[in-house]
């Protein structure tokens, strides 16, 4: 097939000694930057872009450096998600659900290894998907209209309700709070300020990183302060510094399913790695959570979103390259990079500049391989972070978060906002309300509203447009099915726990 030879050509271009050196350098520095709470892949790539221009590399080498930093930073974000329960970036939020409990049970090495392996397989599936389907998908994805996107977001939110927490009301309230926060700022369509109360600092809305770091890192400090130092649940240390291969093998189907779901989610223009990881996690939970182990350290709960978000990152290249529509912050940065290197995204890009496109695909894949090779040995190093005493670790985390956020935004207001989010996160955690739906509401709320309003604009106020297309109808049917399944499962679990309580 012609695309295979093009891909091979891409690899040939990418595999020079200089590029390999850049690859390793990028992966390593990316991992370090991504592991620092408060930075993350987008900022990591943004910080390093000026460096690439300073060096004056050619297009392929620059792309390789930047993709390896990007994937390195994504992996670094997983490290802080799993070891510290602080999501390094938005897609990492799902990883904290099972990754952190695994670390608390002494299985940090397993969690990190699964993250690496699943990410690698997710990227592989994405590359295969790209090779086989790219031109076709580019054309098919155009059929998704705003009403279909709205239906997709509704589906995502309803399935989240089935994931986190015991009481669905609390989960929904959390999601609604997130949506409320998402509307703060200048309305992107009409330009009027909403809920800003004359405070111009917040005209741009709430920065997701500020919310993430506040909700997770600062609330963690407040949680730790509840008990005296000697009474705190100590990190259980590590069972071993080497991951257990059998655990990884156990997750193989989760990885496969997560990759496929993630890739499909990524291909949709305007949807990105966050949606990919959410859908992968919720699908996996619906499929394999028979004993209620998800959320308490089930390795499949780490494998699925990890595979999903890497596959989605790969899939997101299709709309980015063929339509110029970035699906997430990181693809937006990549798009900016490509444009600055004189690459014009568009439907004919695959035909006009195949070398560059396939060079990019090859470099992304190589970054994933390099990460797998580099990071498995480093797991022992990173897991040792668990042994650092809390009184030393948390101040450093707080300092890094504050300095990180401030160095990017230069806004003291953002720091104060972060503290407010810390208090909010603490209160919600005390009330047994999961933070994940809130974060997802904050992240996806803007897109959800925009698509609703676009759909209504097109139909001139007719609410029927929301169920007009076959895609929307299918998605709503799926939503109902999920809702029904969750309710049925919740009832069944309730009866089971009732029965257990009677027997026990």
């Amino acid at each position: 097939m012609e695309t295979l030879s093009l891909l091979a050509g891409g690899f040939a271009v990418a595999l020079t000694p200089l590029n390999i050196a850049l690859l390793l350098l990028g992966c390593f520095s990316g991992t370090l930057i991504g592991a620092l709470p408060g930075l993350g892949p987008v900022n990591g790539v943004a910080i390093l872009i000026p460096l690439t221009f300073a060096f004056g590399f050619d297009a392929t080498s620059s792309l390789i450096l930047l993709s390896s930093v990007y994937f390195g930073a994504m992996y670094g974000g997983r490290i802080s998600s799993i070891l510290l329960n602080i999501p390094g970036d938005e897609p990492a939020v799902m990883t904290t659900l099972d990754g952190y409990p695994m670390a608390q049970q002494g299985r940090a090495a397993d969690a990190l290894a699964i993250s690496g392996v699943a990410s690698f397989f997710g990227a592989t599936v994405a590359v295969i998907g790209l090779t086989l389907f790219a031109p076709v998908l580019a054309r098919a994805a155009i059929h998704f209209g705003p009403a279909d996107y709205f239906a997709l977001y509704v589906l995502a939110f309803i399935t989240i309700g089935g994931i986190a927490g015991v009481d669905p009301r609390k989960t929904l309230i959390s999601a609604l709070l997130g949506l409320m926060i998402a509307t703060i700022g200048l309305d992107p369509i009409s330009g009027i300020p909403r809920y800003t109360f004359e405070n111009y600092h917040i005209y741009d809305g709430v920065d997701p990183i500020v919310a993430l770091v506040g909700l997770f890192a600062l609330s963690e400090i407040l949680m730790l302060l509840e008990k005296a130092a000697v009474d705190r649940a100590k990190p259980i240390g590590l069972d071993s510094w080497l991951p257990d291969v059998r655990t990884i093998w156990f997750t193989r189907w989760a990885i496969l399913r997560g990759s496929v779901v993630g890739f499909v989610a990524g291909v949709l223009p305007g949807a990105g790695a966050s949606l990919g990881s959410v859908m992968a996690y919720s699908m996996e939970k619906q499929t394999s959570d028979k004993d209620g182990t998800f959320g308490k350290g089930d390795p499949r709960g780490v494998a699925a979103p990890e595979a999903g978000n890497n596959a989605a990152s790969g899939g997101a290249l299709i709309p980015m390259l063929s339509l110029g529509v970035p699906g997430s912050g990181t693809t937006a940065v990549m798009l900016a990079m490509l444009i600055s290197l004189n690459v014009q995204p568009g439907p004919l890009l695959f035909e006009r500049q195949p070398d560059l496109v396939w060079g990019l695909v090859a470099s992304l894949y190589m970054a994933n391989v390099a990460l797998l090779v580099l990071n498995l040995p480093m797991i022992g190093l990173f897991s040792r972070l668990m042994i650092v005493p809390t009184w030393a670790l948390m101040p450093i985390v707080a300092a890094v978060s504050f300095v990180g956020v401030f160095s990017i935004s230069n806004s003291g207001f953002d720091l104060q906002l972060m503290i407010a989010f810390g208090v909010l996160g603490y209160l919600l955690r005390k009330l047994d309300v999961s933070l994940v739906p809130l974060v997802l509401g904050l992240l996806l709320g803007g897109d959800m509203e925009r698509n609703l309003r676009r759909a209504m604009s097109i139909s001139d106020g007719d609410w029927g447009v929301l169920i007009a297309s076959p895609i929307s109808v299918t998605l709503y049917i799926l939503t109902m099915a999920f809702l029904g399944l969750s309710i049925w499962l919740a009832r069944r679990d309730f009866k089971r726990t009732q029965a257990r309580n009677v027997e026990g």
Binding site: W391, L431, S457
Partner: protein
Amino acid sequence: MTVRLAGVAIFMIAALYTWYGRDYTASFGDVLGPSVFPVIVGIPAMILSASLVVFPIGQVQWPDPPHMLRQVAALAILLGYALLLRDLGFPLATFGLILGIGIVLGGAPLRALILAAIFAPALWALFDQILGLPLAFLGRWFD
């Protein structure tokens, strides 16, 4: 009890949110306008939080007063950092932050001091020098 209180608090926030939301109008733009989505979000939030008041679930355990005092102290240190950052300059302010939070978390004062003395300049160097993100070394009070 506290879940009920939280329900009331969230209800009031949602009610205010919906109230303000209804007022947002744009003279041009799309058909729906900036007010519809807030109302769509606010009303279910009000209903759900009201249901939490009527049918609360779960117990909340608050920490005892000495530890609550520590939490307040930590928040004060964090807020002080946010407000004094530009006045003190980064290394100094970060030194205070690490020292303060370290002591509040129960670390020995001398060890916290050493930790802060090492990491505050190290972090400044990492961000300002290595990553190229400018951070003031001396603050406004020293100009």
